[in-house]
Symmetry: C2
DNA sequence: CTGGGACATTTTGTATACAGAAGTCTGGAG
DNA sequence: CTCCAGACTTCTGTATACAAAATGTCCCAG
């Protein structure tokens, strides 16, 4: 694997999991030293992250990790809604019914999945769902557009992750989407997707506002070190 | 201006205007020599173009300019439809009425604009329209998503450019969109946008198929000698 | 004549060195 | 005490050199 890929994935993972908090200045020399690669591949990694929107290079020359605000999430959701609804419609027309029948079944057992495997096991099912939708749509451009917007929500989801109640509800919504796609009902699939997105946005917004209230709360993965 | 920006804009312009035809292998050393920059900034430029989809690095290590096929355009339009309809709805809710009243007026005089200033003058009005929509939506994420999909259609539009009849029709469609947005009618704005996109896609598809028929026809910027 | 393997050439990936620019810190003056 | 100016430090941007990998070609064997 190339050094630039290593740097890219490592940085991306760090940002997504809040190990590098928003506002952090990303110095090339420092990161290159830490990751054990030269500045050249590291620059490439930073450029990729910048184009993905995971690094903000707009103001100043040194890139910073952008903040996750209620406003930015709402904006992402406006884009996501447009794309996911269209994807749901197209998937309903082009799907393989068996695939979505299986997925509907998986979501029907989400409560047990959550109980035995935890949130990670549940998110694995969601990942299967996303892939199945992308495959059914069969449009590389749509897939890329969707992935670029999903990336931004990973960080927000990371914050709201400790909300199993919402996940049970989300599973029911996913199940309905799957059933609509399975039956080839494009409009129902779109409506069910709209319902799901609204629920997601509401939960994330609430989490963010709650987090803003007690503002010193650190991120999930970040070792609390502000004693020094 | 940075050397990487120069290389990026130069390459982008060359690709968009068919000076670098699809299928061309993009050798770093050769391009660096030709553009008078080192390989380092040129690599950055190629990376940017690759993430925009203007260079295909998926197969093989050396990047190639992707083809403009009927299929790829249709896929782009599926994404574009999702985004533009959403943008039209949001713009109708948040617009400044005067801006779109002005634009509607401009599109009403499109025939004269085309007669006096040619296609370039008309496309300038379209650019104003796109900017006004982006401003009205007020969503940076939406703007970026829209721009990334519009880029791909520039090359196709470049081929269909010599079709003034279609442009007159398109102006009427744009005018209706502007009026709907001006009046705050979100659903009409979305419907009018859908109508416009369908017309655009039909024209581009016809142009591409016609071009595929006489396959030796060169791109717009090459000197054409077929009986005018 | 065809297929396979080895070698050579070209190309990409990486590292390092250097230059220019920007931000900061310090010292002096008002 | 505050503000401004100049130098210094540190960062990014660029170029070049080197190594590794891939591809294409040529020759030899079957």
């Amino acid at each position: 694997m190339r050094a630039s890929d290593i740097a890219y994935e490592s940085l991306r993972d760090d940002i997504l999991n809040w190990r590098i908090p928003p506002g952090t200045a990303l110095s090339e020399t420092e990161l290159a030293l830490r990751l054990g690669v030269s500045r050249t591949p590291l620059r490439a990694a930073l450029a990729r992250l910048a184009l993905e929107g995971l690094v903000d290079t707009s103001r100043g020359r040194t890139g910073v990790v952008p903040d996750v605000s209620v406003e930015s999430i709402a904006q992402q959701f406006e884009v996501r809604e447009a794309l996911e609804l269209q994807a749901a419609r197209l998937a309903a027309r082009r799907r393989d019914p068996e695939v979505f029948a299986d997925l509907a079944e998986s979501f029907a057992h989400a409560t047990e999945t959550l109980a035995s495997g935890g949130t990670d096991a549940y998110y694995a099912v969601v990942a299967r769902f996303d892939n199945a939708m992308d495959d059914a749509v069969g449009n590389p451009a749509m897939r890329q557009a969707l992935e670029s917007v999903r990336v931004h929500l990973v960080r927000a989801r990371r914050l709201a992750q400790d909300n199993p109640q919402r996940l049970v509800q989300a599973a029911a919504e996913h199940r309905l989407i799957c059933e609509a796609v399975r039956d080839g009902d494009a409009e129902l699939a779109a409506s069910a997707t709209a319902v799901h997105l609204r629920g997601s946005l509401t939960t994330i917004t609430a989490t963010l506002q709650q987090r803003a209230a007690n503002e010193t709360t650190p991120g999930p993965d970040r070792p609390t070190q502000e004693g020094a």
